[in-house]
């Protein structure tokens, strides 16, 4: 996917997020470290430009809640978590780049519950690549890509990767999709 494709998708998300709401009860967005944070910021900007609303935005790092970090070689670096609003009785939309096994999403929901009891949690991802290991589903999907387990999906954001794009990578041979 190219930068224009992605931008259209972000714009669509902005509309989809606000569709069920009157102005008074707006949802809050939480971007998951690392790429989800930048995706969230893009959507936030579209919401402001299109509707003139400033949504509450938080950043979540799920390292503490992961179930797999002990099987890795080194301890993953803990990144910033900052949720500057009260979650209680709010509608939360979680944002991440890729939905794969569903394990990160499980960690994220555990983490959010420790912050308070939201009214609802919805999940938005740019790429759903299948191969779920837990019963999870996304509410807002950028694109669904049937992938092989050996493949790797990389969502790139300009701030970190110098471009906005989605790649499917196979055994480190890069191919654009």
């Amino acid at each position: 996917m190219s930068a224009e494709d992605l931008n259209r998708t972000y714009l669509r998300f902005a509309h989809q997020f606000l569709e069920p709401y009157d102005d008074s009860t707006l949802p809050a967005l939480i971007g998951m470290q690392t790429r989800g944070v930048y995706m969230g910021k893009r959507i936030l900007k579209h919401v402001e430009e299109e509707f003139g609303h400033k949504l509450d935005f938080g950043v979540l790092d799920v390292t503490f809640y992961r179930d797999d970090f002990r099987s890795k070689l080194k301890m993953p670096e803990v990144k910033v978590t900052e949720i500057p609003f009260d979650l209680y009785e709010r509608d939360i939309i979680l944002i991440d780049d890729v939905l794969y096994t569903g394990r990160t999403l499980r960690s994220a929901m555990d983490a959010i519950m420790d912050y308070g009891r939201p009214r609802s949690i919805k999940f938005c991802c740019m790429v759903d690549r299948g191969h779920r290991e837990l019963p999870m589903a996304a509410d807002y999907v950028g694109t669904t890509l049937p992938t092989h387990v050996q493949e790797e999906v990389r969502v790139k954001v300009k701030e970190l990767d110098e471009e906005d794009a989605v790649y499917v990578v196979q055994n480190s041979d890069e191919e654009e999709e």
Binding site: T34, R66, F69, M75, K79, Y100, R103, Y115
Partner: protein, 320 residues
């Protein structure tokens, strides 16, 4: 396996299994712990200040010497991370029955312990333990040798005021000879690029300080005029036997080396720190300890966050 879970490739390769002292740690290792601690600090402000990260770990706190603050701080850090904690204090255990340190630790470790936090009056005990057991060892103070987590939390607190410590002037004032906090602090501060001056009566100044790289001063006014941060140390009255006192009277010590309100007025820039517990009216005038220039209480809060970061990083991925 699940590539989705990977958090980028920029993870710092933290090379240590134990924390015995800051001597073995490089400047970037230290800075990495401090940066990580920043993210742990946030957990303490959550509505549920607890994460399940270490829930599969069992940690024993082995305290051969009395300690309130350090032990509470470690225990809180461990519980905030969801670890199981066993406490051991020498005064109420089989040490009284004559069991040796090695036997004690072997017995404890056969109960499947992942980490040991140890405080002991003899320098080198943490190092010795690494040869006895497989668990990760964290030094919580060994004699007058090192007290690395205290130094880390001091560094963390200093960086909250001066994010870049290089070229900053830090003065450590008081009983330099008996303090393990000093050694670890000097080592850590120099590795982060700060200038350190130690100041105290000649009787409390050990011979090696200059070799560590610190300046020595015997004049408190000169020192306070120079420094950005002044860390007062507790006068360890319990380590002074009758007949070999290191200064004539507490009153005289306070007059010559105590930080007073007059100093605060005269030198308006420096920040006050103290590793606790404070002897009010000895190394700090009581009002100085409570003034807005003092960050003593935030040092205590930061201690929990820093210890959480240390526990997390040493809890290890590959070791089973």
């Amino acid at each position: 396996m699940s590539k989705e879970l990977e958090l980028g490739n920029d993870d710092y390769d933290f090379p240590h299994k134990h924390l015995l002292g800051l001597t073995d740690y490089s400047g970037s290792d230290i800075q990495f712990i401090l940066d990580q601690a920043q993210n742990f600090r946030e957990i303490l402000d959550r509505p549920v200040p607890k994460v399940p990260t270490l829930r599969d770990k069992t940690i024993v706190n082995l305290f051969y010497e009395n300690s309130t603050r350090t032990r509470l701080s470690f225990e809180l850090a461990q519980k905030r991370m969801g670890a199981d904690v066993v406490n051991f204090s020498a005064s109420s255990s089989s040490v009284k029955k004559g069991e040796s340190l090695k036997d004690t630790i072997r017995n404890i470790s056969s109960m499947k312990i992942d980490m040991v936090v140890v405080r002991h009056e003899s320098p080198g005990v943490p190092h010795f333990l690494t040869r006895c057991v497989d668990a990760a060892i964290i030094n919580a103070g060994d004699g007058a040798h090192e007290h690395p987590t205290q130094a880390l939390l001091d560094l963390f607190s200093m960086q909250q005021i001066y994010p870049d410590l290089s070229g900053k002037h830090v003065a450590i004032i008081g009983d330099i000879a008996h303090s393990r906090v000093v050694r670890s602090n000097i080592i850590g501060l120099l590795k982060l690029g700060a200038d350190v001056t130690v100041c105290g009566p000649k009787t409390m100044m050990p011979a090696y300080v200059e070799e560590l790289g610190a300046n020595v001063s015997y004049n408190i006014d000169e020192t306070l005029a120079w420094c950005d941060i002044a860390m007062a140390l507790r006068i360890q009255l319990e380590r002074q036997d009758e007949g070999t006192e290191l200064f004539p009277s507490i009153r005289e010590y306070h007059q010559l080396f105590g930080i007073t309100m007059k100093h605060l007025e005269k030198y308006p820039d420096f920040t006050i720190m103290h590793p606790g517990p404070v002897n009010r009216g000895v190394e700090l005038e009581s009002r100085v300890a409570d003034s807005d220039r003092s960050i003593i209480l935030s040092q205590v809060t930061n201690g929990v966050a820093v210890r959480m970061a240390v526990l997390y990083l040493l809890s290890g991925g590959t070791r089973v």
